[in-house]
Symmetry: D2
Subunit: 398 residues, 4 copies
Amino acid sequence: MKLPVRVDENELAARLERFGIETPSWGYADTGTRFGKFLQDAAATTIDEKLADAATVHEYTGCCPSVAVHVLWDFVPGEDPPAVARKAAALGVRLGAINPNVFQDQCYKFGSVAHRDPEIRRRAVGHLLESIDIGQAVGSGLLSLWFADGTNYPGQASIRQRKRWFQDALRQVHEAMPDGMAMLVEYKPFEPAFYHTDIADWGMACAFARHAGPRAKVLVDTGHHLPGCNIEHIVAFLIDEGLLGGFHFNDRKYADDDLTMGSIDPYQLFRIFHEITAAEQEAGRDLDIAYMVDQSHNLKPKIEAMIQTVLTAQEHFAKALLVDHGLLATARQRDDVVLAEQVLRDAFATDVRPWLAEYRKARNLAPDPLAAYRDSGHTQRLAAERKGRKKDEGASYA
Amino acid sequence: MKLPVRVDENELAARLERFGIETPSWGYADTGTRFGKFLQDAAATTIDEKLADAATVHEYTGCCPSVAVHVLWDFVPGEDPPAVARKAAALGVRLGAINPNVFQDQCYKFGSVAHRDPEIRRRAVGHLLESIDIGQAVGSGLLSLWFADGTNYPGQASIRQRKRWFQDALRQVHEAMPDGMAMLVEYKPFEPAFYHTDIADWGMACAFARHAGPRAKVLVDTGHHLPGCNIEHIVAFLIDEGLLGGFHFNDRKYADDDLTMGSIDPYQLFRIFHEITAAEQEAGRDLDIAYMVDQSHNLKPKIEAMIQTVLTAQEHFAKALLVDHGLLATARQRDDVVLAEQVLRDAFATDVRPWLAEYRKARNLAPDPLAAYRDSGHTQRLAAERKGRKKDEGASYA
Amino acid sequence: MKLPVRVDENELAARLERFGIETPSWGYADTGTRFGKFLQDAAATTIDEKLADAATVHEYTGCCPSVAVHVLWDFVPGEDPPAVARKAAALGVRLGAINPNVFQDQCYKFGSVAHRDPEIRRRAVGHLLESIDIGQAVGSGLLSLWFADGTNYPGQASIRQRKRWFQDALRQVHEAMPDGMAMLVEYKPFEPAFYHTDIADWGMACAFARHAGPRAKVLVDTGHHLPGCNIEHIVAFLIDEGLLGGFHFNDRKYADDDLTMGSIDPYQLFRIFHEITAAEQEAGRDLDIAYMVDQSHNLKPKIEAMIQTVLTAQEHFAKALLVDHGLLATARQRDDVVLAEQVLRDAFATDVRPWLAEYRKARNLAPDPLAAYRDSGHTQRLAAERKGRKKDEGASYA
Amino acid sequence: MKLPVRVDENELAARLERFGIETPSWGYADTGTRFGKFLQDAAATTIDEKLADAATVHEYTGCCPSVAVHVLWDFVPGEDPPAVARKAAALGVRLGAINPNVFQDQCYKFGSVAHRDPEIRRRAVGHLLESIDIGQAVGSGLLSLWFADGTNYPGQASIRQRKRWFQDALRQVHEAMPDGMAMLVEYKPFEPAFYHTDIADWGMACAFARHAGPRAKVLVDTGHHLPGCNIEHIVAFLIDEGLLGGFHFNDRKYADDDLTMGSIDPYQLFRIFHEITAAEQEAGRDLDIAYMVDQSHNLKPKIEAMIQTVLTAQEHFAKALLVDHGLLATARQRDDVVLAEQVLRDAFATDVRPWLAEYRKARNLAPDPLAAYRDSGHTQRLAAERKGRKKDEGASYA
């Protein structure tokens, strides 16, 4: 296949080697909408199954060495967290970001660390502190925080009071983190809160991160923005402020649709990666960013969807690495808008799939991991094995 | 209290008398988001409880004589539908719109009447036909159709093929309806489908209604529009086309948030009502529109939230009836934008609550139904009675 | 270059031959925003210059044989329209859609065919009728109607009354059209009207087209939709209803940004073309659709931007022609969401630029028309020639 | 008229006394859209006329003592700025915020302080420094900065490089400001830039303000947000961060529509004011916030529209002052969502117009300033006087 002549294929391959994508344990389980879940026989229900599935994705793609875990769903109280880490290791993956859960319990109906009841706030902070312990126990360096906190109706609570409770809680959690651990603060404009969400946008996440301490950074979930938002602009801005901590990747058309990465707007994904690779090119080193998937593919088979996502990420990261930075700089220096845009479009239009097939073959991977996985019959085997044990009924809206 | 002098208070009262609001059975049950449900002790679980709660709302407000029912959740297969109607009658309410459910079953994962499998399409149409039978059996004149049908990913299905399946199904259902029954076709831009929804907007609902037959009309759910959409424009347009069948009322800030009516944008609600009352004033008669509530107040207590909603509807309908149509016409005739707008603003700014208190007293209702209900201790009694029977666990996201 | 083996390259080339793109005369003139215009020395000011520029674009791309004209800006009152047509012919292009202007005159401040003053309505309709005459005189078969009509404030006018005036006007215009002429009805949600726009969405355009008569169709301007709108769904729906008349192509990120085609969301453009080519594949014939550009590239040089746009259109139409309809049907028949999506993605990911270069060479065109044009120095020559004659000052916001 | 018993009417009146609203000089001139301007005979063209009109608004409303001025449009180069201040004083008003203009000149086509050409950046900063001088010369304490800087196409410029240029420029300007002057940094998501705007949201404005220095604050223009954005949340957050500097008030339905204040969503306006009055109630003092109008009422007569806006502001600020903070706190303490919301709704539903009429009478103002102004025939007199001098032609789109 032909890549633009000026691209150093060894450098390209080397950078891709260092481009690891973390998949989430909950991405292998059944999820749905408020109208119910459509269940899959092959979906995972236990942490063992989730880790096995994550390992399968890594086996086929070669670039998903870690698995984000969810404290409430993946660690049985009383059980030994290192045991989970050992299971992962045995499967060839390791545990990545620790995701606490302070939104599912009935006690969190009106908030967690911003609940008006100090008892609930203590309980929520307690869970966050336990999550740090789990993280240390399993050797994870990332505490990834998403809060559903917010209100549904005007007047329901004091926005400023809740802000201060958030600041207190995050400062407390930051203090408790060991040196090697970083905190990622995620933002989201709405859902499940429908009037105001306490951490609604990147500006608020930034403010909370700054109040918390130097190892707090911002987590960008690509689906958590209002319509029209220029996400790559936020990414570039955060890079320059030294506050970009990581991503939750997925795609969307309307709200937080949690579709698989790049399925709706692949050019946006390319542009986000371009902001990163351009900054890396200037800095002469990789940026320290956690690339994580967080999507809810409730119609697509779980492992297939995850492989598809990972390949999409690789493809678009590779395209971003094709951008001719020299020509781009020249075009910009001349205010040559057409040429500058064309440099990006040329990289995006380049079909990198044949090159990636070669790249994979050289690493003893299937040239087309999705086709290889589909041909393997693995999903069918999982379905047969796991089918009987399902007890979730898909729930009912009302 | 002072209403504008030119308003005929008797006419106002008479029109309000004819302004009935239907509440939905499922509005008394626990609902939630994909992240789970927050359960309420006092929420209804059986059809008996739902009818009782609807009757309570009617008892306090005096304007909610009917209850929309949901076939899957309210009618036990094999049970006698007229028995449900008799229970309602005994409680002082009647059954209203019949709402089929062709979205919850696992078989509807890829669609119902637009599923590619003819067997599923037949099953879905079968359920719609049964719903007509139930409607006839309980004396309902309205078949209210909402379809979750759609796709999540580009390419997933043929949009045009599915359109034709929809046309066929709705024509078939229309043919099966008895003379006195009308079909309402609801539209929604997204959720639970996230790439394309088969009936995505009012234009599509219109097209399907026209293809189905003369007794098919469009149902406007106020929360089912893209950001910025001018809903009152659609309402006015549908009135003029003779295709406005009814409403599902709720409010929203972001997506289909299903907040209680008027909680976010009360002026929009007023403007919607103004389009209706203005058309009625011109026509010299009431328009035949079904006013129904469909909201998901998962933080507010169910009955309280419903009473609050109903009072909001009454208040804003009354405000719309205060609009000075003569002065409005004069202002428009002069292109006097400021005056024309001021006519609407004056009506909206008028505090109709004191007058409504008098209006209610004259009808042996509490002047402030919400306060009266809250003082009654009814929710607390229901909570004590119903608490033990809950089995729903609130579900889990993953 | 490699195209997928199953593609018949002759058929592909033949279909591209029949894929003509009309460029607009006003796309060669200076345009701007309400904050002013940034002027270009090379921009066209007279109809002669605009036609010359359109001919240049056709010369380089080989697929832009016609030019949309704007009655107010391109035809001097009293002048002979056929003279303009002859000038075009002499340059190797022909006149395409006729675009009346009933929005610029001060008399249209409160509307044109929906103005409350019958005198203004008559004047507006009169201009539309004259536009038909011009169309006949110059041999155009398309009357392309965009109305700025609407209101800025609630209450300003009767929405339903204006709707009826619109119906009357369009019916009158339809009646006056000769047999071979079609009317395209464009819709737009907002701007310049900011509260309600009389033809706000495709559903309204459809209703007006049906009221007008059988030769009225809907014009889809890709930038005229609310955030999140699924445009390809509308396109598919209109095709099935027999009401898709044509396109105004441009791209957008926020509102009606009028950026060059495919610059923000190229995958959406591909999906729109896919709906068309899929319908053509089923029908076994080309659909009768007018493909027109309407964008406002106020930073990019005019001719360059237009060539870039045209190449983008060709590229994405070619990609759409690569879709494997057989495999897509198989995937859909199996509810194989991943495979069905993959069929679309594979076509989109294919780099068609090398094949298009060959295609062009075979037609005596430059393999890369944009590079060839940029190398030609033509813009610089135009700038030198046209510079002196500018009198527009770019205007001021206030 | 009846206000809730617990409201101290003297306090209410006293707070309203201190609620001054600044009107903008350019709000009295003809403005429009990119499709042209609709001209008004009575619109102002010179600074003398604008000041006279602002004085008229203050004369009728009693609460608009200052006028925001625009350096490019209001100060003729070479003229003596204090002379303008003296004219204002003679008319009974004073000059308020100084608004530089680094967006209209042709040289700013690709940016101002973020232009890649250091010469343009210097020129832009130079204009900002001159604006400080003008501010000092006329006794203004506010430098209000809005930048149109941004890009229209992906790749056009380095987002991070431009960010750093912005930081440099604002730091330089901050350093040049005298002690008593504050800098307001305005943000806007898009228009006139359509791909990325350098200061796109409040988070970016915050970051730039922090980089600039302690007297830099954020300016919230109510029309400058993406769809669905919770503006009152941002306001509350900025108050808590000590960074809320002021407002540009207007209303919108779609994009930056610049409609008159409260014309589309009056409840949102009330909620914004509630966040302010609640914070003031807690702090026991007024917050230091500049309340300024910035709207473009191109259909409404200028002075009428401004009076209407000012009355709307007063009405909704008064409503916000009616909120029962004690009851609100109680409701929140009990997680009583319905009651908490009801406290806000009750204040909003209260008709404060009769009380405001009394309030005005006690201050020798007309009880209904809009009616009084309309009855005065002033617009007609201005139209007669100013009509002849118009030379603006309304411009043309292309």
